[in-house]
């Protein structure tokens, strides 16, 4: 039976490649693929010192860094292993596609075989990911990169099996209604392990920190973690990380058995965890099929709270904004906040170090300014509660009595409102906290911060709107390049298409800013010539006004294209 399932995996991979090759008949996919391959070729191979001229130096650097890297990666894996138990449902559950559920679950196949099939199917993706990482992470040389590739694949494979095991264990407990010690024992064990490692390193920190050179520090650290209980705790993780970082073939072969043992232990554990609740596997799989992953399900809080009350009549754009703001609220949840935790912790640590010298208010002001830049420049690319997400519903939207331009205005306004609100709050925060900021030649910015605050408040919506217009314009003009809904396109052509999208956004934004900046410069120059005062508020207002006008004109033009767009031309991503 397993051979049949292996054949199924092979057929799927073969047909996927076949579809991708057939897709190259369409110019956009062909261009995307060429761009993707060119990007990989240039940055990952030609510009990679590990594969080109600096091969010798790269190999020497790799040999020097291997030890500290092995230790750091092992510590990271330990932390990851603990977090999977701590974070709610962070472990990847066993998911089957709806067609797999329909065909395989009623078939005479044991649940264990299904699980093996699922793990087998995941290997192709993991191998591709390992290959890409090998290309980009610059190991030693092209001929030697097989060690890094296979070692990384082994780590990813073990991680996948471990995550599956965690998820199966949890589901098993949940299905059997078990709580108490059984539920919390694994959490206590992993937390205890992390605590022991941390306490040991902390206890030796005083003499470790006296080490002069980094190499001496890592040698000392290696001695600390290579004895006692810490050595036992870190052994499985170091056994895994030792393989890809092996400098010689002999070292690789020596490290391989340990890593395989870790992999085997995880595999046996997963199979044992599976048998604990075999009968419920179908139910779990069906509930969590790839089509409707539980973590992407929206939730209603309270009595179906909405951002504002939608009147039955009025402008149609308001209805689309209302709908898309609801979408944003429904998907924001504890899980989303948890994903932000690492970033918040990092920022907090940086703030605490920086605030020893500068004071909390100053540090907070700088963070606000950084976040303003991220919100304005990167926010439109990240937030997808607009046409990019709604392309999957295009058939429904096209049946509505609404022009393409109206629809597009509504779609763009929803994220624009959200991002502008965030940017405004951060700008106000930065202005309020920037009193003690010392920025050298830019000190006048702080002294006249009221003017600059108003200028920033005026500029932010214009730039956000322009960027969103470009991104939604790409969705209208090249709908097949846009990942609809929560799914994402994959493959080399998708990589090329994303490069085009990013480059297109930047180039178009620059072009949009040219006339606006020119007009603002003329006005600002004129006022300076007459009064001798350099003003920023009026030019900012001019820039935003011109950008909004440009966006309006472009949206009208794009709307006509959207009106003519045939839904059958919007091919869904794989």
């Amino acid at each position: 039976m397993l051979s049949t399932l292996a054949s199924l995996t092979f057929w799927q991979a073969r047909n996927r490649i076949r579809v991708r090759l057939a897709r190259l008949k369409q110019p956009r996919y062909l261009v995307g693929s060429i761009a993707g391959i060119a990007y990989i070729g240039y940055f990952a191979i030609l510009r990679n010192p590990g594969f080109s001229r600096g091969r010798g130096a790269a190999a020497a650097n790799f040999a020097r860094a291997a030890g500290p890297l092995e230790l750091g990666a092992a510590a990271f894996l330990l932390l990851l292993a603990a977090l999977v138990w701590i974070l709610p449902a962070a472990g990847s559950p066993v998911r089957f596609s709806p067609s797999e559920v329909q065909f395989l679950f009623p078939a005479p196949i044991t649940r264990r075989q299904l699980l093996q099939y699922r793990l087998l199917r995941a290997q192709l993706g993991l191998l591709f990911g390992s290959a890409m990482a090998t290309l980009f992470m610059r190991p030693t040389s092209f001929s030697n990169s097989w060690k890094f590739l296979t070692g990384l694949w082994l780590i990813l494979m073990t991680c996948r099996i471990y995550f599956t095991g965690v998820s199966l264990y949890r589901e098993g407990l949940r299905q059997r209604g078990i709580a108490g010690i059984s539920k919390w024992a694994p959490v206590a064990i992993v937390c205890g392990a992390v605590a022991i490692v941390t306490a040991t390193i902390y206890g030796n920190w005083s003499w470790l920190s006296t080490a002069g050179a980094p190499q001496a520090f890592f040698d000392g650290l290696d001695r600390v973690v290579s004895s006692g209980p810490v050595a036992w705790i870190l052994w499985p993780f170091r056994a895994l990380t030792r393989v890809p970082l092996a400098v010689t073939t002999t070292a690789y072969l020596a490290a391989l058995p340990g890593a395989l043992v870790v992999l085997l232990i995880n595999y046996v554990w997963v199979l044992r965890a599976d048998t604990a609740f075999e009968e419920n596997a179908a139910l779990i799989a069906e509930k969590r099929s790839e089509d409707t992953p539980a973590r992407t399900q929206p939730r209603v809080r309270g009595a179906a709270a909405t951002p504002f009350a939608l009147a039955p009549t009025g402008r149609l754009e308001t209805a689309i904004v209302w709908k898309n703001l609801i979408m944003l609220g429904r998907y924001a949840s504890l899980r989303v906040l948890i994903r932000l935790v690492p970033m918040v912790i990092s920022l907090g640590l940086m703030a605490s170090f920086a605030s020893r010298r500068s004071g909390f208010a100053t540090v907070a002001a700088v963070f606000c300014l950084v976040l303003v830049a991220i919100t304005v420049l990167v926010g439109p690319m990240i937030s997808r509660n607009d046409l990019r997400r709604d392309l999957g519903n295009l058939a429904m939207l096209k049946a509505w009595p609404m022009s393409g331009a109206t629809l597009l205005r509504g779609e763009i306004l929803a994220p624009a409102v959200m991002l502008t609100s965030i940017a405004w709050l951060l700008i106000l925060g930065a202005a309020a906290l920037a009193g003690n900021l010392r920025v050298g030649v830019l000190q006048p910015l702080v002294q006249d911060r009221l003017s600059y605050m108003i200028a920033a408040l005026l500029l932010a919506p214009g730039i956000i709107l322009a960027e969103l217009t470009v991104l939604n314009g790409l969705a209208v003009l090249f709908p097949a390049w846009i990942s609809t809904g929560a799914s994402r396109s994959r493959g080399v052509d998708a990589l090329g298409q994303r490069l085009f999208t990013t480059a297109g956004v930047l180039v178009t934004l620059v072009f949009a800013l040219v006339p606006a900046s020119m007009m603002a410069s003329v006005v600002a120059g004129g006022i300076y010539y007459v009064s001798g005062v350099l003003i920023v508020v009026i030019p900012s207002a001019i820039i935003t006004s011109v950008l909004i006008l440009e966006c309006f004109i472009v949206v009208e033009m794009l709307g006509r294209v959207l009106d003519r767009t045939d839904v059958s031309a919007v091919s869904p991503p794989e």
Binding site: P298, L310, M402
Partner: protein, 329 residues
């Protein structure tokens, strides 16, 4: 004042060919005796024919002697145009062709639906039913031909045409993050339904969705989702309704209610197209039936007409369908 059909209303807009006379002879398909009898006359003939009949007669499509000359046709046409009581077809599909790449899904397909008519659109799998309905709904752009809803061309005046239309897809399409009430609120705003609240209450009761107002689509069964999609379609009281497999996923009670809903909408004057493989449903509720096969119209008429035309095939729609589509064997 006489109502003069503009070029746009005749479909001759947007770079497309003007609506040619409805003539299934343009089809390349082999003409069977049944098909010959069911072919629609030319538009001028049809207008002249209708001009001498009462409204009820027109609905039943009686055999009326065609005009013998152009002047007689013109005379009849002018009579119709001058008659404000003459209802133009609410849905008029003229020589629709829809292709996907090299594949032709619908070819030279023409039919019309008057106000109050319930037309069943039937055909084998892949016959072109959904492509036709999606083209009428403005989701797919017709490759050739013209479609008008209440006199508004779906390509040239999409907003005006769609304002009168509702399309219920075979697979209920809902926003996964909106509750049932929010769907109704959103659609009401889109169609500018001022009295949304009472209409929504009535529909929720009629479709047995009471108690599910705050449920998300993910919490509803397929049948329930279908009911929500139908409630959204009916909230603006459309003059033209397109149902694509409306009974899929409904329980027996839901099926009965759905049939009642469709018939009630037809009686209240809506022009309805029902596409379904359930021939007994079509036979039961439809006033006229259009049969499509491989993208080409092969039958059009009332049950009595189709039965008479398919002499020897049998009296049930199933027998007629199998005979017409050549799948009897």
């Amino acid at each position: 004042m006489p109502r003069i059909l503009s070029k746009r209303e005749n479909g001759g807009v947007n770079g497309q060919r003007p609506a040619a006379p409805h003539n299934a002879d343009a089809s390349t398909k082999t003409i069977t005796p049944l098909m010959k009898n069911s072919l629609r006359p030319k538009r001028s003939d049809r207008l002249a024919k209708i001009g001498t009949a009462t409204v009820d007669d027109r609905r039943r499509r009686p055999d009326v002697t065609y005009c013998g000359s152009l002047s007689a046709c013109m005379s009849g046409t002018l009579q119709i145009l001058a008659d404000p009581s003459y209802p133009l077809p609410m849905i008029d599909v003229a020589r629709l062709t829809k292709t996907y790449g090299d594949f032709t899904a619908v070819k030279d397909f023409s039919f019309h639906v008057a106000a109050g008519e319930i037309v069943g659109l039937i055909g084998p799998n892949g016959a072109g039913k959904t492509s036709t309905l999606r083209s009428i709904a403005g989701i797919h752009a017709p490759t050739a031909g013209a479609i008008t809803i209440g006199g508004q061309n779906i390509v040239a005046n999409p907003v005006e045409a769609k304002q009168q239309l509702a399309f219920i897809a075979d697979e209920p399409q809902l926003f996964e993050y909106l509750t049932v009430t929010e769907h109704l609120r959103l659609v009401s705003r889109i169609y500018q339904v001022a009295d949304m609240e009472p209409r929504a209450r009535t529909l929720l009761t009629e479709l047995e969705l009471t108690g599910k107002e705050n449920a998300l689509p993910g919490e509803l069964s397929r049948g329930m989702k279908q009911k929500v999609a139908i409630a959204c379609a009916l909230i603006h009281d459309p003059k033209a309704l397109l149902f694509d497999e409306p009974l899929t996923g409904l329980d027996p009670l839901g099926i009965r209610k759905m049939k009642q809903t469709i018939v009630a909408r037809g009686r209240s004057g809506a022009a309805i197209v029902v596409s379904s493989h359930l021939l007994h449903l079509v036979e039961e509720i439809c006033t006229r039936i259009v049969i499509i096969d491989r993208g080409v119209k092969v039958g059009d008429g009332t049950m009595a007409e189709l039965s008479a035309q398919a002499a020897g095939a049998g009296s049930s729609l199933e027998q007629i369908f199998l005979a017409v589509t050549g799948r009897e064997s």
